[in-house]
């Protein structure tokens, strides 16, 4: 599902990723961890083509994405559900509209989009907040809306950047079990986190990123 070959990324002569090689097979659940500034977010951004490598090749779902032109990106991004660290919710739309909007972009009919949105909102306990605007929600609620949006169109790959950062322990645990369910249904899940409690809660392949290189690749704890 994901393959990186000698991927490097530099910002103003500072190396963020250094000749990184990585393979994640379809259906895997992988944690990506490391200290702040290790390159976790940069790596995730590369996987949905918001960032281009300085060198190397990035392959996602069988396509080399670092060479894709702008017109090819929408189709790639429709296969990927991204849970952004800063949520990226549409401020002028309600919770329900934030989700149906994405489904409509994906070509799903309005009625079906509404049905699917309500289903995922119920799953994340947000059905009573469907008419609220993002600014009226707590950080945790906004996080859950961002998660609901990423899950609504049942993507083949889920990339989550610190998805539990604004959730309490119970909600974090609930979210992880949700991601596990989705992974069990066949989706590949890559979760970037620096929360060790989360890493220890699920036995999964863990990549430790440090100074732009993978220092550890295996089950956690080592």
């Amino acid at each position: 599902m994901i393959r990186l070959r000698s991927v490097s990324k530099e910002y103003e002569r500072r190396t963020i990723l250094d000749a990184l090689d990585l393979q994640v097979d379809a259906g895997e659940f992988v944690f990506l961890t490391g200290p702040s500034g290790a390159g976790k977010t940069t790596l995730l951004r590369m996987l949905y083509a918001a960032e281009h490598p300085t060198e190397g090749e990035v392959w996602v779902a069988g396509r080399r994405i670092d060479e894709m032109v702008r017109a090819q990106l929408p189709l790639l991004r429709r296969k990927i559900g991204v849970i952004f660290q800063d949520f990226k919710l549409l401020r002028r739309k309600t919770v329900l509209e934030n989700i149906t909007f994405v489904l409509r972009i994906h070509g799903i009919a309005p009625r079906e989009a509404h049905r699917r949105s309500m289903k995922v909102l119920r799953r994340l306990g947000l059905q009573n907040r469907q008419a609220a605007f993002p600014d009226a929600l707590s950080g945790g609620e906004q996080q859950r809306v961002a998660i609901a949006r990423a899950l609504a169109y049942q993507p083949r790959l889920i990339l989550a950047d610190e998805p539990t950062g604004n959730l309490d322990a119970d909600l974090a645990s609930e979210l992880l079990s949700l991601l596990c369910d989705i992974n069990y249904q066949g989706a590949t899940v890559l979760v970037a986190t620096h929360d060790h409690a989360i890493l220890e809660s699920i036995p999964a392949r863990t990549l430790v990123l440090h100074q732009g290189q993978i220092h550890y690749d295996g089950m956690w704890p080592p």
């Binding site: 918001a50 991004r77 991204v82 401020r91 002028r92 972009i105 949006r149």
Partner: protein, 284 residues
Amino acid sequence: MIRHAFAEGLIVLRERAVVSVILAFALGVPIAFAGVGLTLQHWLGPVADLSGQKSSVAVLLHPQMESGERRRWIAEIAIDHPRWTVSEVSSSDLAERLQRWFPYLEDLINSGDAALPSLVEILTDNPDSVTVLEGRAEVLAIGPRSSIQQTLGRVARGLALIVGVVSFVLLAVAVLLAAVWVHLELYRHSDEVIIMRLVGATEGTIRGPFLVAVAIPGLVAGILSVVGSLVTVSGLSQLASALGLSAMSIPASVLAGQLAAGVFLPLLAAVVTLARYAADATEG
């Protein structure tokens, strides 16, 4: 995608209702002016055509020129100036004209005592060129070089040109206004555009609502301009009739053009603006 574009475009319009109405008026006024301008050009057309017509300049030759000498001179002039049509007015024709213009000379003309000068008429599209004959010994006088029709034609042509230029400038301003409006809306919605791109929206899905949001005020502008120009032309027509001039009416093609301009000019401005600036709203 079209339904989505309309739904989102209407949301943009609802959010910016007042600005959209102002935009519709700002687009409608110059389009209406252009419609009235084209109608005026159409109406002035036959008069303006007069300025291009050939006119006849009268040249009086010396009365002591003999007929043979006169014929040679006319032939020589015709060769030197191939674009002139030179013709001699017969003495009987000249006598008849003189009697008509100056009835009190009737007795003198009929007595045969007066030596009448020879009159030559030169038909040309450039009456001023006849001045080259001034000062020649054979030429006694040259008549007026422009007719009232030509003067009227020149004025009408100038007026039509001014109306055309002003209409063009106003339309250009309207297009620029639409482009600026789309640019501002794009800037206002840049966060949404970034998010839409990240969740897999195509460029058509992203740009569609902006096109709808500019096409609807454009259509309203087209309708307003048609109503405005109909009212204006009706008023001008009444004025023309009161002055004894022919009535004015807007050609159907001008009305259709106004409606089309209302929709397509802002759309064109939006397409160009989006092509130029929408790509800037991106992450990485």
